[in-house]
Amino acid sequence: MIILWIALGLAALIIFVVFSYFNRFAVLGNRIDNSLSQIDVQLKRRADLIPNLIETVKGFAKHEKEAIKAVTDARKALIGAKGVEEKVKADKGLESALKTIFALAENYPNLKANENFLELQRELATTEDKISYARQYYNDSILSYNNLCKTFPGVFFAGIFGKKPREYLHIAEAERKPVKVEF
């Protein structure tokens, strides 16, 4: 009788542990997916700001066709990009195209003083901050997930559930530094 109870107790314990690990993997996996979609949301907001910016710049600096085209192209690349890594890279391209535009704006006092332009500039900087925060959280989420996958006893359950460590978003160190506007 006692052996039966012990067996039952052990079975219950095992079921509990398996369930809690399964849920842990699910929660951390969801966190990664969710933070990924947060990056997407911010990238989209960024792309949505561009046409407005282009219109404003055109109003004051029509001749800077090249710079304007560079931004429009970069935006297209961002919208067309598939997968986060590619999107983040496209965003970097957009960022450098924008840098050129903002540097050019220095030559156009009216543009530089334009309320709309200033607002857009602020908004673009804010979204850039948010993107880097979302990216940071994405990598943090992957870190907790991978820690669970690679440490005992998580590594054992990872094998059972077929969970594999995920890849970090790799962004070169130099790109993480604050953008310097050059003239």
Binding site: D129, K130, Y133
Partner: protein, 297 residues
């Protein structure tokens, strides 16, 4: 960031939750004992009625303060909610960026009138959290410094410090008021003489001791909580922003320029980013020590 990983935040969260329950049990016990003492000192004849009243009162007190602690704290400082658009856009955007960095839900944002650079967070869980900064902080801090302060407050939110700290502030703040009332009515009563002088004198003494002790004990509890929490909230802030100089800058500005603000209720003082008063026996670790720890990160 190996320094930050060593702190297990999940441990801290469950500790805060347990402590909150523990606190509520203690507050309940203190209130019931107070009721017991009151009934003996004043009217031993109505013992049961007073005790039943005390129990009902304590339970409703706990429930009300649990579900409204954030509102009580906000009310006590006269805070006003802000919206995304308008004057406080930068504040809102910074908070939103930090929620992305931390994965926490967006708190409701408030401002309060004060020249000081200060801030606090409150609420019973991260979903129902509020963050409030002073107008002084918005004026005097630059973007990175304000971000550091907000990250510190979100650290309190994520660690469930807000639940425990607000509960302490609100429940304990009330205890001090109640015992104050008790003490005052005793002074009036002591003028007249009554029959069983010895018995009531003892209970009067107990009543006085209790009334004097209640706020002191609680004050000590407040001291015990804040000190360690501020450091771990600072560490969490750095985990979110990855930029210690922002928080350090804010602390330095506070050290140089904050004047004591007498209007802030003493009971809610431990909630704040920096101690609103400057005298000894402060509820916060020294700013120098905090800066020192941050500089090592």
């Amino acid at each position: 960031m190996p320094e930050n990983q060593r702190i297990d935040f999940r441990d801290q969260i469950s500790r805060n939750k347990t402590k909150s329950v523990f606190l509520m049990v203690i507050v309940f016990a203190v209130l019931v004992v107070l009721g017991y003492v009151i009934s003996y000192v004043f009217e031993p004849g109505y013992f049961f009625i007073i005790m039943i009243f005390a129990v009902i009162f304590s339970i409703s007190y706990l429930l009300i303060s649990y579900y409204n602690c954030d509102k009580i704290a906000l009310m006590s400082v006269g805070a006003q909610e802000i919206k995304r658009e308008g004057k406080y856009k930068q504040y809102y955007d910074l908070a939103e960026g930090l929620t992305l960095a931390s994965g926490l839900p967006m708190p409701k944002l408030y401002i309060m009138k004060s020249e000081q650079i200060n801030a606090f967070a409150s609420g019973r869980n991260p979903k129902k959290s509020v963050v409030c900064v002073t107008e002084g902080a918005l004026e005097k801090l630059d973007k990175k410094e304000l971000e550091g302060v907000l990250a510190h407050e979100l650290g309190h939110v994520g660690n469930y410090d807000i639940r425990y700290m607000t509960l302490v502030a609100v429940m304990v703040g009330m205890i001090s008021i109640i015992s104050q009332i008790f003490l005052r009515s005793l002074w009036f009563k002591s003028g007249g003489n009554s029959r069983d002088n010895k018995g009531s004198a003892i209970f009067m003494l107990i009543g006085v001791i209790l009334a004097v002790l209640a706020p002191i004990v609680v004050y000590l509890v407040q001291l015990a909580i804040s000190r360690k929490r501020e450091f771990s909230a600072d560490a969490t802030a750095v985990k979110f922003t990855r930029y210690p100089p922002g928080l350090i800058g804010a602390l330095k500005k506070i050290k140089q320029g904050n004047q004591p603000d007498k209007k802030i209720n003493r009971a809610v003082a431990p909630l704040f980013f920096a101690n609103p008063f400057t005298e000894l026996g402060s509820t916060h670790p020294s700013i120098d020590r905090r800066i020192e720890v941050l500089e090592k990160m």
